[in-house]
């Protein structure tokens, strides 16, 4: 079921309980048509306009193709920002636009079998779905497709006839998503032909790019949600994430700009993603600072961050009508730790706890249940002793292992601000007994 834009569904800003719940849906990234009404530019309080810089780098790249690797915490707004980036790149600016192929990994891949051959096929299928081109009319398309069909044929499956039809590529897309055995078999069978497949894909993209009208300079692939591929072991016992992102995807040397998302955990692994991809830029989308940086003494609220989040929230909810006082709004924003999704969750759950206007106590009541969740989820965690030091200094103590760092950031126990500049413990975690009673690490 596709959604209508939020502003068409509701009268915004929301005032009634059901409108508030709908307007504060943490599961809903902003669609391009919702950007004008609901998007709030948070770049000034997120360490600068990182997505804008990606656009500038792509636009500024002449005679080379940009590699951009994007990550961030769950709920930081990756998908929203990438959809916005795609829309911006499609717009002609100073006479230059781009042909953006936006690829949601979920629509093309099976989570349990994502490797380079499947990603190559996903690019091919996504390209074939662009109305601008008919790949069958290209020089390279039929050759590549023939090669793929032969590999699939070697699996002994009765697919040849179906794949030969005009909807063969669509069928392949569905099969790769739902038929794990086929996807796995294809990867194994394609291993001996990977160089050939890569070259043919390169040629095909170069060929279609050559057909672009003069005002469209290049093809840009935005591959979103790759960061959600579950970590597992490869057949050889290596980390799938490190194998795919560190060894296989850098081989994807296609004549197009590539913007890929990746798991934030790889920021803290030893593989050095930036070096694996030639000249790749890594971008981590941070949270909005709601507390002063560690250097500020005494540390209080980061007023600019709180004001930005208030503007964001005010686009969705009629703050004056819904909240009893300003302190209640500020508390909700403060407790979110600057995670937009947590702002929406806290405010969206207020109607379940009582009637309007929502006072400070009601906000704290909602937060208390979220704190209880953290309380139970954090029990016995080996990193609890480090949290006080992180909250005090904004840095990970030397004793923090990469694995703990990964867990702390992935699970939003510790939040990152200004991309690695400093860290803080989530305010909801700070309110737990687990945090308060944690023995400080030496």
């Amino acid at each position: 079921m596709e959604h209508l834009p939020l502003h068409a569904e509701l009268s915004l800003p929301a005032r009634t309980p059901s409108e508030i719940q709908a307007a504060c849906d943490p599961a809903r990234p902003l669609a391009p048509e919702e950007q004008a009404t609901l998007h709030e530019d948070l770049s000034s309080v997120q360490g600068g306009d990182r997505i804008g810089r990606i656009e500038l780098r792509v636009r500024g790249a002449r005679h080379r193709h940009q590699r951009e690797l994007v990550t961030g915490h769950a709920g930081c707004g990756k998908s929203t920002e990438l959809l916005r980036l795609a829309a911006e790149l499609r717009k002609p600016k100073q006479g230059v636009a781009f042909h953006v192929v936006y690829l949601d990994a979920y629509d093309y891949l099976n989570p349990h079998e994502v490797r380079l051959p499947q990603i190559l096929m996903a690019l091919l299928v996504a390209l074939s779905e662009e109305p601008r081109w008919d790949l069958r009319q290209t020089r390279t398309g039929p050759v590549l497709w023939d090669r793929v069909r032969k590999i699939l044929g070697s699996l002994g499956r009765e697919l040849a006839k179906d794949l030969a039809s005009s909807t063969g590529l669509q069928l392949l897309r569905s099969l790769f998503r739902v038929d794990l055995n086929l996807a796995r078999g294809f990867r194994r069978a394609a291993q001996d032909h990977i160089q050939e497949l890569l070259e043919l894909t390169r040629d095909l993209i170069a060929e279609v790019a050559g057909q672009l009208p003069p005002e469209i300079r290049d093809v840009v692939f935005v591959v979103d949600n790759l960061e959600k591929i579950p970590e597992s072991e490869t057949d050889g016992g290596a980390s799938l994430h490190e194998t795919l992102f560190g060894r296989e995807l850098p081989l994807l040397d296609v004549p197009a700009h590539l913007i890929l998302t990746y798991p934030i955990a790889l920021n803290y692994s030893a593989i050095g993603l930036g070096h694996r991809f030639a000249d790749a830029k890594q971008t981590t989308i941070p949270m909005v600072a709601v507390r002063d940086r560690p250097e500020v003494a005494p540390r209080g609220d980061a007023l600019a961050g709180i004001a930005a989040l208030r503007r964001l929230l005010a686009r969705r909810v009629a703050l004056d009508a819904v909240f009893g006082d300003d302190a209640a709004v500020t508390e909700a924003l403060r407790l979110s730790g600057g995670c937009v999704r947590d702002v929406l969750r806290i405010v969206g759950d207020l109607p379940s706890y009582g009637a309007q206007p929502y006072a400070l106590a009601r906000v704290r009541e909602v937060a208390a249940d979220l704190i209880n969740d953290y309380e139970r989820l954090l029990q016995g965690k080996p990193y609890l002793g480090l949290l006080h030091a992180i909250a005090d200094t904004g840095e990970f103590p030397a004793a923090t292992t990469d694995e703990w760092k990964r867990q702390l950031l992935m699970n939003l126990v510790v939040l990152e601000y200004d991309t690695g500049t400093w860290y803080d413990v989530h305010p909801l975690v700070k309110a737990t007994r687990a945090f308060r009673s944690a023995v400080r690490a030496p």
């Binding site: 599961a27 915490h73 979920y106 989570p111 109607p351 379940s352 969740d373």
Partner: protein, 622 residues
């Protein structure tokens, strides 16, 4: 016990009722896709939670909510796309001991963006605390989408009561060994040397310790009476009294036995009264605070706090009990009590860690008392939390090849069967029970035979097999066999028997079973259980029309107790029953009053089904 096989768990407690009401409000306010996480442990608690949530479907502002138990052979999208909101269970394998057929967490996380398209209403994931943790750790993207989380953890003080191992082979052998030894120690006379009296008294205290482990109250009392007599000459001899701290320690132990006996009877007032006296004697007899005697005091204090529901105080005392190679049992009992406290307060992550800790402590004692502790803790917990007891049962004997392990292996298999039926695994339950049955002998201790009989009835009820006569025979046998040594268990089996007779339209037999169960519960010191039995008796009498005014008076008194205890669901059911009876007699006003209160109870416990049934009765009153 097998009570869950018939009635399940109905009362979740006022806090959980409030959480469910809040969830109901959240579902009623919003529309469209929403990810809701409901944390409820597999077994009876989850069944009740899912029942209540399902009862909201199609009522008020809440749309349809289809129950979906995930099937490993079908695609996730197909299973969830049923055109309405869904209540999803089965995310973990049915038997948590089995490896999962599908990694549902990874699939849900991956297909997150497609979920709003597939589910046009609430997506309610019903998970255990362990699975909730896994969602948090392994699916941070999906987890960050949650709109509302509800955590249902039932506080159950009964789990925190001191445990015993009636019929355990090791403790029975120890009892017999020490008893034989008593005969060899010369009986004291008042002119004997003090150290002989000391040995006499110590031997009795050793025996009492074993009897406490067996839960043999009457024998404890018998030997307890002999200890002070043995020590009198010691105390009369000034050179001993002043110089021998060991003698003081023996007397302290004697006082402590009084406390332990009171704790076993759940008589916290008596335990609290005698504990300072024991502490005074310890102070006289102890060289320093690190002595093992102080650990026994800590254990007693911890258990007393646990019995009164002072969980934090109990934990603080029990955690101070040190691992001591001279008193390993005290240390193990403290670890056991810490497990009980964690389960009793519904803190499952902590309980799992405590169990792992206990299993390690018991491992070196697997040839002596270790398995007895693992088994009795599993038995105390299984009805409420069948899933996490697997680790305890794994620490107990599994097969009966060695005769020394046979009765324990039977107990283990019976508990595995009980766990299986509570987790809706009837085939496994039948298989475990068949194994246990093949090992039992007529001369085995009554408690072991009682457990097997109770489990036979439970499996038959849960799987729908067996004739009524067979099931009632099993329950009746369980009651009789349990009664002398484990009256609390007899009461639970008796309540199940009463429920069964009520269901089979034999109110006369049901009333008799309930009455006997109430007596057994009182003998075990379990006032709440006695109240349950009495409630069953009165309810049956009212249903049958054999009630009198005095019945109504007793029932109203019990209803007040239920209200005070926050057992709203049980109160609602009993009031509805009373209302129906009053209606039948034409006492319209009284009936309306009771039914209205019943409806309020069901509304407060977010049980829309109960509310609707009572509303129908109220409508009929005009």
């Amino acid at each position: 016990m097998i009570r869950g096989a018939l009635s399940g768990i109905t009362d979740l407690g006022p806090q959980n009722d409030e959480r469910l009401r809040r969830l109901r409000t959240a579902l009623a306010i919003g529309g469209g896709f929403r990810l809701i996480i409901v944390e409820a442990e597999p077994g009876p608690i989850r069944r009740e939670v899912v029942r209540r949530i399902a009862s909201w479907a199609g009522r008020g502002e809440i749309g349809a909510l289809a129950p979906v138990s995930l099937d490993a052979d079908a695609s996730l999208a197909e299973q969830l796309a049923v055109g309405s909101g869904v209540i999803v269970t089965g995310i973990a394998p049915p038997d948590p001991g089995e490896p999962p057929a599908r990694d549902w967490i990874a699939e849900l996380n991956w297909s997150r963006d497609a979920l709003p398209r597939a589910v046009p209403g609430p997506l309610i994931l019903v998970v255990s605390q362990a699975l909730h943790q896994a969602l948090f750790e392994r699916a941070p993207d999906l987890y960050s989408w949650r709109r509302h989380t509800t955590h249902v953890a039932v506080v159950s003080p009964r789990i925190a009561a001191p445990l015993a191992s009636p019929g355990d082979s090791y403790w029975l052998a120890e009892r017999d060994r020490i008893r034989r030894g008593l005969g060899e120690v010369p009986r004291w006379d008042r002119d004997g040397y003090p150290h002989e009296h000391f040995i006499q008294a110590q031997a009795r205290l050793d025996l009492i310790e074993v009897l406490l482990q067996l839960g043999d109250r009457s024998s404890v009392s018998q030997y307890k009476r002999e200890v002070p007599g043995a020590m009198d000459p010691v105390l009369d001899d000034t050179s001993w009294r002043d110089g021998n701290r060991m003698a003081m320690a023996v007397l302290a132990q004697d006082k402590l036995v009084t406390v332990q006996r009171a704790l076993l009877d759940r008589d916290h007032a008596a335990a609290a009264y005698w504990l300072p006296s024991a502490a005074e004697w310890y102070a006289l007899g102890t060289h320093d605070r690190e002595d093992l005697e102080s650990d026994e005091l800590l254990l007693a204090r911890g258990r007393l706090h646990a019995l009164t529901g002072a969980w934090d105080a109990a934990t603080a005392e029990l955690e101070r009990v040190q691992a001591d190679r001279y008193a390993p049992l005290t240390h193990a009992l403290a670890r056991e009590a810490l497990c009980q406290v964690a389960f009793a307060r519904g803190d499952l992550p902590l309980a799992r860690r405590r169990v792992a800790d206990l299993v390690e402590v018991l491992r070196p004692r697997r040839d002596t008392w270790g398995p007895a502790i693992a088994i009795r803790l599993a038995e105390a917990v299984v009805e409420m939390y069948p899933e996490p007891i697997a680790a305890l049962l794994d620490a107990a004997p599994q097969d009966a090849e060695a005769e020394s392990c046979r009765t324990r292996a039977i107990t283990t298999r019976c508990l595995r069967a009980r766990r299986a039926w509570l987790l809706d695994l009837p085939e496994l339950a039948r298989a475990e029970l068949a194994t246990a049955r093949s090992w039992i002998r007529a001369e085995d201790p009554a408690e072991i035979r009682a457990l097997l009989a109770a489990c036979e009835a439970g499996v038959a009820l849960a799987t729908g097999g067996g004739a009524t006569a067979e099931i009632t025979d099993s329950l009746d046998r369980a009651c009789r066999l349990y009664r002398p040594g484990a009256p609390g268990h007899a009461a639970v089996a008796g309540i199940a028997l009463g429920q069964l007779w009520t269901e089979r339209a034999r109110p006369d037999l049901a009333v008799a079973a309930y009455r006997r169960a109430a007596e057994d519960a009182r003998a075990a010191g379990d006032v709440a259980l006695a109240g349950d039995a009495e409630l069953g008796e009165l309810g049956t009498a009212i249903e049958d029309g054999s009630d009198e005014d005095v019945t109504h008076g007793r029932l109203r008194a019990l209803l007040d107790q239920l209200a005070c205890a926050g057992r709203i669901q049980s109160e609602g059911a009993a009031r509805a029953q009373l209302g129906r009876s009053l209606l039948r007699r034409g006492l319209r006003d009284a009936a309306v009053a009771e039914l209205s209160r019943a409806r309020a109870c069901f509304a407060a416990s977010a049980d829309a089904e109960g509310e609707a049934q009572v509303a129908k009765l109220l409508d009929a009153t005009g």
